[in-house]
């Protein structure tokens, strides 16, 4: 019995963790490259969930294709937003943050007006269970883990093995020196932002069948992404991976064995511990 519970908690934790990783990766990428805290990040998660919902549930497009459509549409939308809304605030972190906050409110309320407040149930993508001895795993959860792992791996390849990825990392590490290599930072920013929010959209779409879709679904992942990047280190990609999985698993185990209230308490205690003893995060770079 305990074995099943532990396995179940682990799977749930990894599912949650993978979502946090996807959301936090984009969030930390944007901070690393543009020094911008994108408070609207969760809204792109929500938009991704809606696009996936419409494509999959209404137009009966296969789920994987629906996800890809959501990533592309939201990614392009993100590039547009970067050019139109965030470019004027370049180099002005505080005003950029306020603009992001405003954008979040606008997107959320626009969604509320268009699609209403009621959560829309998304049909399951996978049904049935996987039995491994006494352990039972629902396919719907394993599916999320597998898809997220593939997306994270693709993202990793883009960041480490493409010219665009290298340019992004160069801009993140030293913008001025990146310019001197011939990298036009202004042309890199929209791609980085588009990639970042496309990851959030994919996370939203993936979690749609698990949690349902409504205009407020972006709030919790956004908050969790914040916690993840504080634990992992703001701007650190390995930190987002480690922090996301850690947070998901701790949250899942704590809420199964100790209850949801204790779980929230534990997470925030974890954040405080990190802030006290390693304020630059587990994998972050200590600033001089």
């Amino acid at each position: 019995m305990t074995g099943t519970l532990i396995a179940q908690s682990l799977v749930n934790g990894v599912v949650l963790g993978m979502t946090y990783v996807l959301v936090a990766l984009g969030f930390t990428l944007i901070f690393g490259i543009m020094r911008m805290v994108n408070f609207a990040h969760g809204e792109f998660y929500m938009l991704g969930a809606f696009v996936t919902f419409f494509a999959f549930a209404q137009f009966q497009i296969p789920f994987i294709v629906s996800l890809a459509i959501a990533a592309i549409i939201i990614g392009c939308f993100g590039m547009l937003i970067e050019r139109v809304i965030f470019r004027p605030f370049r180099g002005n972190e505080l005003n950029g943050m306020i603009a992001a906050l405003g954008l979040a409110i606008i997107i959320q309320n626009a969604a509320l007006i268009m699609w209403g407040a009621d959560p829309k149930p998304m049909p399951s993508v996978a049904t049935g269970i996987l039995k491994l001895g006494p352990l039972i795993f629902p396919w719907s959860r394993l599916y999320v883990i597998g898809a997220a792992a593939v997306i994270i791996a693709l993202f990793y390849v883009v960041i480490t093995h493409t010219s665009l990825g290298r340019a992004m990392r160069a801009v993140a590490q030293d913008t001025e020196i990146a310019l001197v290599q011939g990298i036009r930072a202004e042309r890199i920013y929209p791609f980085a932002f588009g990639l970042s929010v496309a990851l959030a959209a994919l996370a939203g779409g993936l979690m749609g069948p698990v949690f349902g879709v409504s205009p407020t679904v972006g709030l919790a992942p956004m908050l969790k992404a914040f916690i993840v990047v504080i634990i992992g280190g703001l701007g650190s990609i390995p930190g987002a991976l480690l922090g996301g999985l850690l947070l998901g698993i701790v949250e899942s185990f704590a809420s199964t064995f100790l209850g949801a209230t204790v779980s929230d308490f534990l997470l925030l205690a974890l954040v405080m511990l990190v802030l006290i003893f390693r304020p630059w995060g587990l994998m972050g770079v200590r600033e001089a």
């Binding site: 990392r169 020196i177 001197v180 011939g182 990298i183």
Partner: protein, 237 residues
């Protein structure tokens, strides 16, 4: 014949004037040394040339065409590269990735790999350490990498900002040898900014002395080495 000409260039950071009415030129295929004390405006001059700061007034011409007002990437595309002060390699990237970024604008893969061969020929140490993180290299090796990265852009003019700063004496000699070598064998013109005046004057064909943002003196490296003024103020003779 000069490859680069600055005429009456001034640079200021807000109200602070860093470079005032500076005119100088880099002879084609030669090494120009720019010497001077800390804060004399040497680095600001290089930053103005590469497009990281816009000059407040004056003209900068590269191969006869005005480049002041262009962005840094556009200037790099025209054939100028900078090895910055403090080296500033990308610390969390490998040596190879740093070099690859230096050739960012070069789309022809054949040219990139030939340039890479050339750099490994000049800096065999970089080849040995190519998969190591740049941040874990020694100061001298980082300097080699910074110069190598700049060479990856295939510049016709190379700007070197304090390449000897903070290096062990033996590494200083090594870097000096490489600078001369690159200039001679590749025919790349060099503008060399140095606080180590003796070293810079020995390497260079021509030299200028900057003081409080203005050109105080100019001549061949030889002339300045023997000038009483330079000897007193900069060589400690």
């Amino acid at each position: 014949m000069s490859i680069l000409e600055l005429s009456n260039v001034s640079v200021s950071y807000g109200p602070v004037v860093a470079v005032h009415d500076v005119s100088l030129s880099v002879p084609k295929g030669k090494i120009l040394a720019i010497i001077g004390a800390n804060g004399a405006g040497k680095s600001s001059t290089l930053k103005a040339i590469i497009g990281l700061i816009k000059p407040r007034s004056g003209e900068i011409r590269f191969e006869g065409e005005r480049i002041d007002g262009l962005s840094a990437p556009d200037i790099v595309a025209r054939g100028i590269a900078l090895s910055p002060e403090g080296r500033r390699v990308f610390p969390r990237m490998s040596v190879m990735e740093n070099l690859t970024l230096g050739g960012y604008l070069q789309r022809d893969k054949g040219v990139v790999s030939r340039t890479l061969e050339l750099i490994f020929h000049h800096f065999p140490r970089l080849k040995e350490r190519r998969s190591q993180a740049a941040g874990s290299l020694s100061g001298g090796e980082q300097q080699m990498l910074a110069i190598g990265r700049a060479l990856m852009a295939q510049p016709r003019l190379l700007l070197l900002d304090e390449p000897s700063l903070g290096l062990a004496p033996i590494m200083v000699q090594e870097v000096a040898r490489v600078i001369v070598d690159i200039n001679k064998s590749e025919g790349i013109s060099v503008a060399l900014v140095e606080q180590n005046a003796k070293l810079a004057l020995k390497l260079s064909h021509e030299a200028v002395v900057l003081e409080s943002g203005e050109v105080a003196l100019g001549g061949t490296g030889e002339e300045l080495l023997t000038s009483e003024y330079v000897q007193k103020a900069y060589l400690g003779v």
